[in-house]
């Protein structure tokens, strides 16, 4: 049976048109499923409806019901099924409708999936992906970042891209990886017009575990990821204009494993480091990064390691509360000024 043609909305890169972050994710999934028929999707409302954010729009018609499976609302059950199918040589991709809903699958991810290779199961190639992050007035259950619920679990990898180009290349790398990967997509980036970019019209992957220098600078280094990359760039541009402060920005891209060498290099370059994450403060990744800098680059520091994060609270609904909850560009500016003057 010949599959129908590639849907028009997934041909933008082929036509040389810019794509959004969301379209980059869709293209990555579509191209990987076309390349490898052992890949299939599991998730809620991903078939007929095309996913809550329409990431898999028209996939069902193209790939059929065995490769685009609408599941019961049972995140633990279908994530477990992904593991079982991966054992049998398939390469499942699980969509969490919102990553906030990953919690019922915490057991199977941490106890079963993450330990499988260590317990002798061999590869468990699967990706768990979905939208994260705040700023959309989604309230406590449609806005969370989940990386730190899994960062502490050896055996997992965690990816959190900030641009369409990275999202596509990193998602392809995650799908081809033989280890289980949690892939976070910030919903505020999904359709952000300013992020649209023309992607290469050939297959490319971005290796997991490699950070990217977004911006060169000499006074203060910001280590960040996801939506905060863009807020950090805003801050850096303001600081350069208003203060003449030169800010280096490192986009981690992969959180597990962390690119220690890139972090240490950024510290050594400026001697001042600010860690910025949208996730909440206590137990956030800034703590771990700070510890690693302490271990490997203590003598290079000219100032304390600082962080800018969300406040330690559930994600509030009201815009006035959520804006206060989230790290803002002005917070980053304030922190960089403090470091630069230290």
């Amino acid at each position: 049976m010949t599959a129908p043609d590639v849907p028009e909305h997934l041909r933008k890169t082929a036509r040389g048109e810019p794509v959004t972050f969301l379209e980059a994710v869709s293209e990555a999934l579509f191209e990987e499923m076309t390349r490898d028929d052992s890949i299939f999707l599991l998730g809620e409302d991903i078939g007929v409806y095309g996913g809550a954010f329409k990431v898999t729009r028209d996939f069902l018609a193209h790939f059929g019901a065995d490769r685009v499976i609408d599941t019961p609302i049972a995140e633990g059950g279908f994530t477990g099924a992904a593991a079982g199918a991966a054992h049998m040589g398939l390469r499942p991709i699980v969509e969490m409708q919102f990553m906030d809903f990953i919690s019922p699958a915490y057991d199977v991810i941490t106890n079963y999936i993450a330990t499988s290779r260590y317990r002798g199961a061999g590869p468990v190639p699967l990706v768990i992906r979905g939208p994260v992050g705040g700023g959309n007035r989604g309230g406590p259950f449609h806005s969370q970042n989940v990386e730190m619920a899994f960062f502490h679990t050896p055996g997992l990898k965690i990816v959190y891209p900030s641009t369409p180009y990275d999202a596509k290349g990193l998602l392809k790398a995650a799908v081809r990886d033989d280890d289980p990967v949690i892939f976070e997509e910030h919903k505020g980036l999904y359709r952000a017009p300013g992020l649209r970019e023309v992607l290469p019209d050939e297959d490319y992957v971005i290796p997991l575990g490699e950070a990217r220098t977004v911006r060169e600078g000499s006074d203060v280094s910001i280590v960040t990821y996801g939506s905060m990359v863009h807020r950090s760039v805003e801050a850096a541009e303001a600081l350069e204009q208003e203060d003449g402060v030169s800010v280096e920005i490192l986009d981690l891209r992969t959180l597990l494993p962390l690119d220690d060498d890139a972090i240490v290099a950024a510290v050594k370059k400026t001697g001042r480091i600010l860690i910025v994450h949208e996730d909440t403060r206590t137990g956030g990744i800034a703590g771990e990064i700070s510890m690693r800098v302490n271990e490997r680059a203590f003598e290079w520091l000219d100032a304390p390691i600082l962080r800018v994060t969300a406040i330690d609270a559930p994600v509030p609904y009201s815009g006035s509360l959520e804006d206060y909850f989230l790290p803002q560009t002005e917070d980053i500016v304030t922190a960089v000024r403090y470091l630069a003057a230290y």
Binding site: A74, G80, A81, G84, G120, A121, P123, D178, D260, E295
Partner: protein, 353 residues
């Protein structure tokens, strides 16, 4: 052969008997090894439940080339693993955490994978295995393979959310999966009545739209029949099935559990329904075997277990630094800097892990 033999030939009946004896003998040998200090972790007996695992596994297609039916055992289903080709020496190696064992000391007891013999290593929260086995059997259905999966679990796991979620998915996807609930009346010290209001776990099946039957779990041929029927339905496209095994856990949850929450008279009553005694009597009654043949099998199994245990005892534990390996495909966990040849250099990142 009489028609009571359930369509089984003499050699097959001997195989079933042998698997029952092997389960009992291997576990008794483990008790000795534990007393001698060789088994450092928990020891979980299946006393009184051996016929469940053996009868169920015997009803499946057992292959050693990765094409057979697929099994997720519980700690009390060692007999099923043996029938699927697991070597007793590996069973001992696992309990004794030997480097030579299938998980090289990372995991214990029956928790190991063998994709050729077609079983996987469960995790301790057993309800989780429903979802995993839903995925294993989903792959059979998607590829048009005439294979089924079988997942064992107990009274306690039946109460977990993971069990419900896994079964919900398996049922709607019509996965060729047979659920075998080991209704042994206790989840650790918790009696079934504290886990569910239903009398039989089969009462849960209609809520998922699946077929179920309940069977005397001490009668190995009754179990065999029930699971064979369920597997046939699943193989024919009938979707997910459930079989309840009714029996009694005649020992504590593990050897460290004195089981003092159970009336000794109840245990004594169930001793009279010992699955091995029952099947031995039936073998003799129907003349499926002579007393000499059974005795020879008993002795052969005893020698096998003794020899396997001696082999495993003599083998080494894994090297400590092996704990760093196999967390990911590439690389390994960072070496603790305090254990590096030059700790200070390692701390500074000048010596790679």
């Amino acid at each position: 052969m009489t028609r009571d033999a359930h369509g089984l030939g003499r050699a097959e009946l001997h195989q079933i008997y042998r698997a029952l004896v092997l389960t009992r003998t291997a576990e008794e040998r483990l008790e000795t090894l534990q007393k001698q200090g060789h088994v450092t972790g928990g020891l979980y007996r299946s006393l009184g439940q051996e016929a469940g695992a053996v009868g169920a596994a015997f009803a499946l297609r057992r292959r050693t080339d990765g094409t057979g039916d697929f099994l997720a055992p519980t700690i009390r289903a060692a007999g099923a693993l043996f029938l699927f080709g697991a070597e007793p020496v590996d069973f001992f190696r696992q309990y004794m955490a030997r480097d030579t064992g299938p998980t090289r000391g990372r995991e214990a007891n029956v928790h190991w994978f063998d994709f050729d013999r077609c079983f996987l290593g469960p995790v301790s929260p057993l309800g989780t295995m429903l979802g995993v086995m839903a995925g294993v059997t989903l792959s059979f259905r998607m590829r048009g393979e005439e294979r089924v999966g079988l997942v064992f679990y107990g009274d306690g796991a039946s109460s977990t959310g993971a069990w419900h979620e896994g079964l919900s998915l398996a049922a709607v996807q019509r996965c060729p999966l047979v659920l075998v609930v080991e209704h042994n009346q206790y989840a650790f010290s918790t009696p079934t009545a504290c886990n569910t209001r239903v009398e039989s776990f089969t009462e849960k099946a209609p809520g998922y739209g699946i077929e179920a039957e309940s069977v005397d779990g001490t009668d190995v041929l009754a179990v065999f029949d029930a699971v064979r029927r369920a597997a046939a339905r699943a193989r024919a496209g009938g979707g997910t099935q459930m079989v309840e095994l009714r029996y009694f856990r005649r020992r504590g949850h593990a050897q460290h559990d004195p089981q003092d929450y159970v009336d000794p008279a109840l245990i004594a009553a169930w001793e009279k329904k010992d699955p091995l005694d029952r099947f031995r009597a039936r073998m003799l009654e129907h003349e499926w075997a002579t007393p000499d043949e059974l005795r020879a099998l008993d002795e052969e199994v005893f020698r096998q277990c003794r020899s396997a245990a001696e082999t495993a005892v003599a083998e080494p534990l894994p090297d400590g630094p092996d704990a760093l390996l196999d967390v990911y495909r590439d690389g390994h966990a960072p070496l603790p800097w305090t254990r590096a040849p030059d700790p200070a250099a390692a701390l500074a990142g000048q010596v790679g892990p």
